[in-house]
Protein backbone atom coordinates (compact mmCIF):
# COMPACT_ATOMS: atom_id res chain seq x y z
CA UNK A 1 0.00 0.00 0.00
CA UNK A 2 1.30 3.43 -0.87
CA UNK A 3 -0.20 6.82 -0.12
CA UNK A 4 1.25 10.02 -1.54
CA UNK A 5 0.13 13.61 -1.00
CA UNK A 6 1.87 15.77 -3.59
CA UNK A 7 1.89 19.44 -4.57
CA UNK A 8 2.76 19.12 -8.24
CA UNK A 9 1.18 17.77 -11.42
CA UNK A 10 1.72 14.07 -12.15
CA UNK A 11 1.05 11.50 -14.86
CA UNK A 12 -1.15 8.82 -13.27
CA UNK A 13 -0.36 6.20 -15.93
CA UNK A 14 3.36 6.62 -15.40
CA UNK A 15 2.90 6.36 -11.63
CA UNK A 16 0.87 3.15 -11.95
CA UNK A 17 3.51 1.51 -14.14
CA UNK A 18 6.36 2.75 -11.96
CA UNK A 19 4.74 1.52 -8.74
CA UNK A 20 3.80 -1.87 -10.16
CA UNK A 21 7.34 -2.39 -11.45
CA UNK A 22 8.67 -2.00 -7.91
CA UNK A 23 6.40 -4.73 -6.48
CA UNK A 24 7.72 -8.01 -7.93
CA UNK A 25 6.47 -10.22 -5.08
CA UNK A 26 2.91 -10.57 -6.35
CA UNK A 27 3.24 -9.84 -10.06
CA UNK A 28 2.19 -13.36 -11.03
CA UNK A 29 -0.88 -13.17 -8.85
CA UNK A 30 -2.32 -10.04 -10.47
CA UNK A 31 -5.45 -10.75 -12.46
CA UNK A 32 -6.98 -7.30 -12.31
CA UNK A 33 -5.85 -3.72 -11.93
CA UNK A 34 -8.62 -1.22 -11.37
CA UNK A 35 -7.94 2.50 -11.50
CA UNK A 36 -9.86 5.66 -10.78
CA UNK A 37 -8.52 9.00 -11.95
CA UNK A 38 -10.24 12.19 -10.83
CA UNK A 39 -9.54 15.24 -12.99
CA UNK A 40 -10.31 18.90 -12.40
CA UNK A 41 -13.19 20.29 -14.48
CA UNK A 42 -13.39 23.88 -15.72
CA UNK A 43 -17.00 24.22 -14.55
CA UNK A 44 -18.92 23.56 -11.36
CA UNK A 45 -22.36 24.52 -10.09
CA UNK A 46 -23.06 26.72 -13.10
CA UNK A 47 -19.79 28.67 -12.98
CA UNK A 48 -16.58 28.64 -14.99
CA UNK A 49 -13.71 27.56 -12.76
CA UNK A 50 -10.23 28.74 -13.69
CA UNK A 51 -8.26 27.08 -10.92
CA UNK A 52 -8.42 25.48 -7.53
CA UNK A 53 -6.45 25.23 -4.34
CA UNK A 54 -6.66 22.15 -2.15
CA UNK A 55 -5.90 22.36 1.55
CA UNK A 56 -5.45 19.34 3.80
CA UNK A 57 -4.74 18.34 7.38
CA UNK A 58 -1.25 16.81 7.24
CA UNK A 59 -1.05 13.62 9.25
CA UNK A 60 -4.80 13.10 9.57
CA UNK A 61 -5.04 12.92 5.79
CA UNK A 62 -2.64 9.99 5.60
CA UNK A 63 -4.22 8.36 8.66
CA UNK A 64 -7.73 8.51 7.20
CA UNK A 65 -6.56 7.30 3.78
CA UNK A 66 -4.89 4.32 5.46
CA UNK A 67 -8.16 3.57 7.25
CA UNK A 68 -10.03 3.66 3.93
CA UNK A 69 -7.63 1.09 2.49
CA UNK A 70 -7.63 -1.08 5.62
CA UNK A 71 -11.44 -1.22 5.57
CA UNK A 72 -11.37 -2.18 1.89
CA UNK A 73 -8.81 -4.89 2.65
CA UNK A 74 -11.25 -6.28 5.21
CA UNK A 75 -14.02 -6.47 2.63
CA UNK A 76 -12.22 -7.62 -0.52
CA UNK A 77 -9.11 -9.57 -1.46
CA UNK A 78 -6.55 -6.94 -2.46
CA UNK A 79 -2.93 -7.50 -3.39
CA UNK A 80 -1.91 -3.85 -3.25
CA UNK A 81 -3.08 -0.28 -3.69
CA UNK A 82 -1.72 3.11 -4.63
CA UNK A 83 -3.32 6.44 -3.79
CA UNK A 84 -1.97 9.79 -4.96
CA UNK A 85 -3.81 13.04 -4.15
CA UNK A 86 -2.87 16.58 -5.10
CA UNK A 87 -2.75 19.52 -2.72
CA UNK A 88 -1.93 23.15 -3.43
CA UNK A 89 -2.75 24.96 -6.65
CA UNK A 90 -4.38 23.03 -9.51
CA UNK A 91 -5.61 24.04 -12.96
CA UNK A 92 -8.37 22.46 -15.07
CA UNK A 93 -7.53 19.15 -16.73
CA UNK A 94 -4.91 18.28 -14.15
CA UNK A 95 -5.31 15.09 -12.17
CA UNK A 96 -6.55 15.55 -8.61
CA UNK A 97 -6.57 11.96 -7.43
CA UNK A 98 -5.42 8.51 -8.51
CA UNK A 99 -6.59 5.29 -6.90
CA UNK A 100 -5.21 2.01 -8.21
CA UNK A 101 -6.05 -1.39 -6.77
CA UNK A 102 -4.39 -4.66 -7.71
CA UNK A 103 -6.19 -7.94 -7.11
CA UNK A 104 -6.39 -11.46 -8.49
CA UNK A 105 -9.97 -10.93 -9.60
CA UNK A 106 -11.84 -8.04 -11.21
CA UNK A 107 -14.73 -8.00 -8.77
CA UNK A 108 -12.47 -7.32 -5.81
CA UNK A 109 -10.47 -4.71 -7.74
CA UNK A 110 -13.54 -2.85 -9.03
CA UNK A 111 -15.42 -2.86 -5.73
CA UNK A 112 -12.44 -1.93 -3.59
CA UNK A 113 -11.52 0.97 -5.87
CA UNK A 114 -15.05 2.34 -5.71
CA UNK A 115 -15.19 1.90 -1.95
CA UNK A 116 -11.88 3.67 -1.35
CA UNK A 117 -12.91 6.58 -3.59
CA UNK A 118 -16.26 7.07 -1.90
CA UNK A 119 -14.67 6.79 1.55
CA UNK A 120 -12.03 9.34 0.56
CA UNK A 121 -14.75 11.74 -0.58
CA UNK A 122 -16.58 11.57 2.74
CA UNK A 123 -13.87 11.12 5.39
CA UNK A 124 -10.42 12.33 4.31
CA UNK A 125 -9.65 15.93 5.32
CA UNK A 126 -9.10 17.73 2.03
CA UNK A 127 -10.89 20.99 1.18
CA UNK A 128 -11.21 22.63 -2.24
CA UNK A 129 -11.40 26.34 -2.91
CA UNK A 130 -12.34 27.28 -6.46
CA UNK A 131 -11.08 30.29 -8.40
CA UNK A 132 -13.81 31.70 -10.60
CA UNK A 133 -13.78 34.23 -13.42
CA UNK A 134 -13.48 37.86 -12.26
CA UNK A 135 -11.03 36.81 -9.53
CA UNK A 136 -13.73 35.54 -7.20
CA UNK A 137 -13.15 32.52 -4.96
CA UNK A 138 -15.47 30.11 -3.20
CA UNK A 139 -15.09 27.07 -0.97
CA UNK A 140 -16.62 23.85 -2.17
CA UNK A 141 -18.98 23.13 0.70
CA UNK A 142 -19.82 19.46 0.24
CA UNK A 143 -19.19 16.38 -1.85
CA UNK A 144 -22.03 14.55 -3.53
CA UNK A 145 -22.41 10.81 -3.15
CA UNK A 146 -21.05 8.88 -6.11
CA UNK A 147 -23.87 6.36 -5.74
CA UNK A 148 -26.66 8.85 -6.53
Amino acid sequence: MAIQIIDHAFDPYHEIQRYQSTQPDYLGAIGATSIFIGTMRDFNQGSQVTGMSIEHYPGMTEKQLSLCVEKAQGLWSILDSLIIHRVGTITPNEVIVLIAVWSSHRGDAFDATRYIMEALKSTVPFWKKECLDADAERWVTSNTSGYQ
Binding site: M60, K121, V124, P125, W127, K128, K129, W139, V140, N143
Partner: protein, 77 residues
Protein backbone atom coordinates in the same frame (compact mmCIF):
# COMPACT_ATOMS: atom_id res chain seq x y z
CA UNK B 1 -4.03 21.32 31.29
CA UNK B 2 -3.04 22.43 27.83
CA UNK B 3 -4.27 21.45 24.39
CA UNK B 4 -3.58 22.62 20.88
CA UNK B 5 -6.49 23.62 18.64
CA UNK B 6 -6.33 23.73 14.84
CA UNK B 7 -8.79 25.14 12.31
CA UNK B 8 -8.90 24.36 8.61
CA UNK B 9 -10.36 25.74 5.37
CA UNK B 10 -13.43 27.99 5.70
CA UNK B 11 -13.42 27.53 9.47
CA UNK B 12 -9.91 28.99 9.65
CA UNK B 13 -11.23 32.08 7.90
CA UNK B 14 -14.26 32.12 10.18
CA UNK B 15 -12.19 32.23 13.39
CA UNK B 16 -9.38 34.33 11.89
CA UNK B 17 -6.43 32.07 12.72
CA UNK B 18 -5.23 28.53 12.12
CA UNK B 19 -4.19 27.40 15.59
CA UNK B 20 -3.77 28.31 19.22
CA UNK B 21 -3.03 26.82 22.62
CA UNK B 22 -5.81 26.54 25.16
CA UNK B 23 -5.22 26.28 28.90
CA UNK B 24 -7.94 24.92 31.16
CA UNK B 25 -8.35 23.53 34.67
CA UNK B 26 -11.12 20.94 34.42
CA UNK B 27 -11.94 18.42 31.70
CA UNK B 28 -13.76 19.79 28.70
CA UNK B 29 -15.84 18.20 26.00
CA UNK B 30 -14.97 18.94 22.40
CA UNK B 31 -17.98 21.24 22.18
CA UNK B 32 -16.82 23.11 25.29
CA UNK B 33 -13.40 23.51 23.71
CA UNK B 34 -15.00 25.35 20.79
CA UNK B 35 -16.82 27.79 23.07
CA UNK B 36 -13.82 28.24 25.37
CA UNK B 37 -11.71 29.14 22.36
CA UNK B 38 -14.35 31.08 20.43
CA UNK B 39 -16.71 32.59 22.96
CA UNK B 40 -18.08 35.18 20.56
CA UNK B 41 -18.45 32.95 17.51
CA UNK B 42 -21.34 30.69 16.65
CA UNK B 43 -20.42 27.13 15.80
CA UNK B 44 -21.08 26.77 12.06
CA UNK B 45 -23.54 24.06 11.08
CA UNK B 46 -21.94 20.80 9.90
CA UNK B 47 -18.59 21.53 11.57
CA UNK B 48 -16.58 18.35 12.15
CA UNK B 49 -14.20 17.68 15.03
CA UNK B 50 -11.15 15.48 15.45
CA UNK B 51 -8.96 14.69 18.44
CA UNK B 52 -5.47 13.42 17.75
CA UNK B 53 -6.42 13.06 14.07
CA UNK B 54 -9.44 10.82 14.67
CA UNK B 55 -13.07 11.87 14.24
CA UNK B 56 -14.90 12.35 17.53
CA UNK B 57 -18.36 13.38 18.61
CA UNK B 58 -19.00 16.65 20.38
CA UNK B 59 -19.34 15.10 23.82
CA UNK B 60 -15.90 13.46 23.79
CA UNK B 61 -13.62 14.57 26.60
CA UNK B 62 -10.23 16.06 25.82
CA UNK B 63 -7.23 15.59 28.08
CA UNK B 64 -3.90 17.29 28.59
CA UNK B 65 -1.77 17.22 25.45
CA UNK B 66 -4.59 16.44 23.05
CA UNK B 67 -4.68 18.03 19.61
CA UNK B 68 -8.18 19.15 18.67
CA UNK B 69 -9.13 20.14 15.13
CA UNK B 70 -12.28 21.80 13.80
CA UNK B 71 -13.10 21.86 10.11
CA UNK B 72 -15.96 21.94 7.58
CA UNK B 73 -17.21 18.89 5.65
CA UNK B 74 -14.41 17.42 3.56
CA UNK B 75 -14.39 17.97 -0.21
CA UNK B 76 -11.42 16.08 -1.62
CA UNK B 77 -11.20 13.73 -4.53
Amino acid sequence: MSIKVYYFASLKEHVGHSEHELEFIQSLTVKEVWFEANADLALPKNTLAAVNMEYVDWNSLVIDGDVVAFFPPVTGG
